[in-house]
């Protein structure tokens, strides 16, 4: 019978993925002064989470949990609402993309899902900037460059997630998970 609800074990796994996102955000500092470069690990974790718990909404749940955690820890330059929404929407974006594209173990699928997830995060930041009346001229400084940077790092993150999933399958992780269920 097809499972529709998250089991406790799956919820614990998703919670761990959420914590991993926040830890990665704090601890992993890439010396790249490019907007959205954190998408490399961010999208990778979301893609892996969405496959390890193959139920609709898994990535969204990871996004929401990590967003709440990050907001409480005071991460992000633009306040808790921006932090929570952007983390959540990254997960929702990945979920929607995978709903259309299917299994993220395909590297192209994973890359595109990563792009869409990261683009969703960008949209939140951009949208909040517009609503809050952030100065237009400087927002426009390299907006196209920022957008492209988000898409590229999202794709790279998705690719990394896809490669991780392939490695996990080779290591027998999914067989192990099937036994656990």
């Amino acid at each position: 019978m097809k499972q529709h609800y998250f089991s406790t074990f799956q919820l614990i796994l998703l919670g761990l993925f959420a914590a991993l996102i926040v830890i990665a955000k704090i601890a992993l500092k890439l010396p790249l002064q490019l907007p959205g470069h954190s998408g490399i690990f961010w999208m990778a974790i979301l893609i892996v989470a969405a496959r390890v718990v193959p139920l609709k909404g898994a990535a969204s749940l990871v996004g929401l949990s990590s967003g709440l955690l990050a907001a409480f820890l005071g991460l992000g330059d633009f306040g808790p609402l921006d932090t929570m929404l952007s983390y959540t929407m990254a997960g929702v974006g990945v979920d929607l993309a995978l709903l259309l594209l299917g299994n993220p173990e395909n590297l192209l699928t994973a890359s595109i899902a990563g792009m869409i997830g990261h683009l969703a995060k960008f949209l939140v930041k951009w949208g909040i900037g517009i609503i809050s009346g952030a100065p237009i001229g400087f927002v426009a400084l390299g907006l196209a460059r920022t957008l492209v940077s988000y898409i590229i790092f999202g794709a790279l993150g998705g690719l990394l997630g896809g490669l991780t999933l392939i490695a996990l399958r080779k290591a027998g992780f999914f067989a192990y998970l099937a036994e656990k269920r």
């Binding site: 330059d77 259309l100 683009l119 100065p135 001229g137 927002v139 426009a140 920022t146």
Partner: protein, 167 residues
Amino acid sequence: MTRTIRIIIALVVILVIAGLVLGVDWMQRRQAAQVVGTSTPLPPGSVPIVFNGQIVAGFLPADLEKLKLVSFVDAEEGKTQDGWLLRDILLLYLKPEQLEDETQITVSSSSRDKSATLNWAEVKEASNMVMFDLSNRGTLKLVSLLPQLGTRNYWIQDADRIEVNNP
């Protein structure tokens, strides 16, 4: 629906969203240009520099390219803040003799209702690293090694006005 069609749909969605963002941005800039054109002589999107109550210049994104990039690691999060010294920005438009050690420099953000006031002695000291970092969404964020600007709560995000007042 085949996988290829699904991938094409996803790519089209990405392109449409990117196009919408850039389109809305272009419209906003056009509107801003019209408003600015009728009210002040400043170019659209510039950050006004007000000296003793008079607008003396509009600081433009392109001006940043003329300045030296500096960086420091903030004590709170260990994150590298890199950008341009406020001192260098002010000296693009003001002469050094116009600025005294006690001159008050206020950087404010209208959207965040925040401001920080420093004196020229603090700003001109390069080791204080009073600088603008470019945020991820492309706005300017005033950060520094000075205690009054040392942590996120005190940074001035989305800075959109610089006021300089002599005593």
